[in-house]
Amino acid sequence: MGNALQLLLQAGRFLLYAAVHVLLISRLQLFDVGWCFFYLGFLLFLPIATPIVVTLVVSFLMGFSMDLFYDTGGLHAASAVLLGYLRPWVLRILTPRDGYDAQDAVNIHQMGWQWFGVFLGVLVPIHHFVFFFLELGSFSAIGLTLLKILASTLFTGVTMLIVQLLLFPARRRR
């Protein structure tokens, strides 16, 4: 019963993130070089104990649905799958001294600023780096691409912070 509810909840989150991204966020641009990858929020904030195979499959599904809207074939999917693969590694490296509790989640209030900052600061730049260099297909316009990566990382990172601060329950860790 609990599992079915959890599954339904995650399906709802998937649709919500995808819909908000396609309908609202995808048109936003930061100085013409930065985009907000809002849908990554769904992948980043999955429960900590999600099995890796499930993480990979939902990453692929999320990336692929974005590809349908952007006409990019498999570009979003490729970088999202990489993100899904790296996420458990980063979580393992960031494990607190006494391991994760059962109720722990990727939540800025529970895990603290430092933990969350490192989590975002590792995964988002790697995703953007792979995404923009795959899109470019070469190393020709390298300066502009690095600028795109930097601006998009800032944009996505700040948006993820806002989502966390606004929407996630503020139960402080004792």
Partner: protein, 307 residues
């Protein structure tokens, strides 16, 4: 056997990762081929519907701009209708080609990118369409239009706007079409300079959405700042003489046989709303096929190529 299953289970994360990554990359690479369209794309009926609804919502936020643009276009059309000098009207008072009754004095035309196109021409029918999705700052940019096979759009047709050339239709469904924009890393539009008719090829370098490069202009040719660059009409995608842009920088580089010419695009891609799809009838397309088969053209997919 047991060992194999153990192995698969132990490395399931990496194996699934590798599988999905390969699938995505194959989809991505197949999609980035200029001509070959992906199986899944935004001309899909459901995706097109979502994009159309989104456009309807966004429209409310840009009504002022759209109204201004439409008013400007109306004014321009009216100027074409009521021309002050009668002299300019005289040559047009002959019957239009294909007008067997001879009753209509002037063929119905529309000024698209400096070129008067017949709205009901047998060679280039015009299909109006609305841009419902667009990228601008990617390396390969595409548009989605709300016109499809039902309106007479077919893959390979050209897309124009009042100001000039926009792109080429890539894939069509019943009510939607995806378009490869001029702002695509593999764009190759055959073009010429209007004042002396020198042929070249338009390319996009992938950074600046307001400029393209005009390649293959021989070094001995004289160039002028502000020269108008138009389509050559050598291939049958675009009618001849449609505006592409104006020359705004040129230089001789020591290691090249051709001028390096930068062209400022006439179309402002950041404000695209309504476009026209033009395309040849089968009779004209037949010429393309014939020339390709007899080796006059390198390949059917090469749009323009070297002059």
């Amino acid at each position: 056997m047991r060992n194999l299953l153990d192995f698969l289970y132990r490395y399931r994360g990496f194996l699934v990762f590798a599988l999905l990554e390969v699938v995505s990359l194959v989809l991505f690479i197949r999609n980035s081929a200029y001509q070959r369209a992906a199986f899944f794309n935004s001309s899909n009926a459901y995706i097109g519907r979502v994009l159309e609804v989104r456009t309807q919502v966004y429209d409310y936020f840009s009504l002022i701009d759209k109204n201004k643009a439409l008013a400007a276009e109306n004014a321009q059309l009216r100027r074409q209708l009521y021309r002050s000098d009668l002299a300019a009207r005289m040559p047009d008072s002959l019957a239009a080609s294909g007008d067997t009754t001879g009753t209509r004095l002037r063929p119905d035309t529309l000024l698209v990118g400096l070129q008067q196109l017949l709205t009901r021409s047998s060679d280039y029918p015009l299909v109006p369409a609305r841009v419902i999705n667009q990228t601008l700052r990617r390396v390969d940019n595409y548009l989605t239009l709300n016109a499809g096979t039902q309106q007479g759009v077919r893959a390979g047709m050209g897309v124009l706007t009042g100001a000039g050339v926009v792109g080429r239709v890539r894939q069509v469904s019943e009510h939607y079409a995806t378009v490869t924009s001029v702002l695509h890393s593999k764009t190759n539009v055959s073009a010429k300079l209007r004042h002396d008719g020198t042929f070249g090829t338009i390319k996009w370098l992938g950074e600046d959405p307001t400029h393209v490069i005009l390649d293959y202009i021989p070094r001995q040719n004289k160039l002028l700042m502000g020269d108008t660059v138009v389509t050559s009409g050598y291939n049958q995608v675009f009618p001849e003489g449609v505006m592409i842009g104006t020359v705004d920088y040129f230089a001789k580089e020591p290691d090249k046989n051709f001028w390096t010419v930068r062209v400022r695009l006439a179309v402002d891609f950041s404000k695209l709303t309504y476009v026209y799809v033009v395309g040849p009838q089968p009779r004209v397309a037949e010429r393309d096929t014939l020339e390709t088969r007899s080796g006059l053209r390198a390949a059917a997919e090469e749009e323009g190529g070297k002059p």
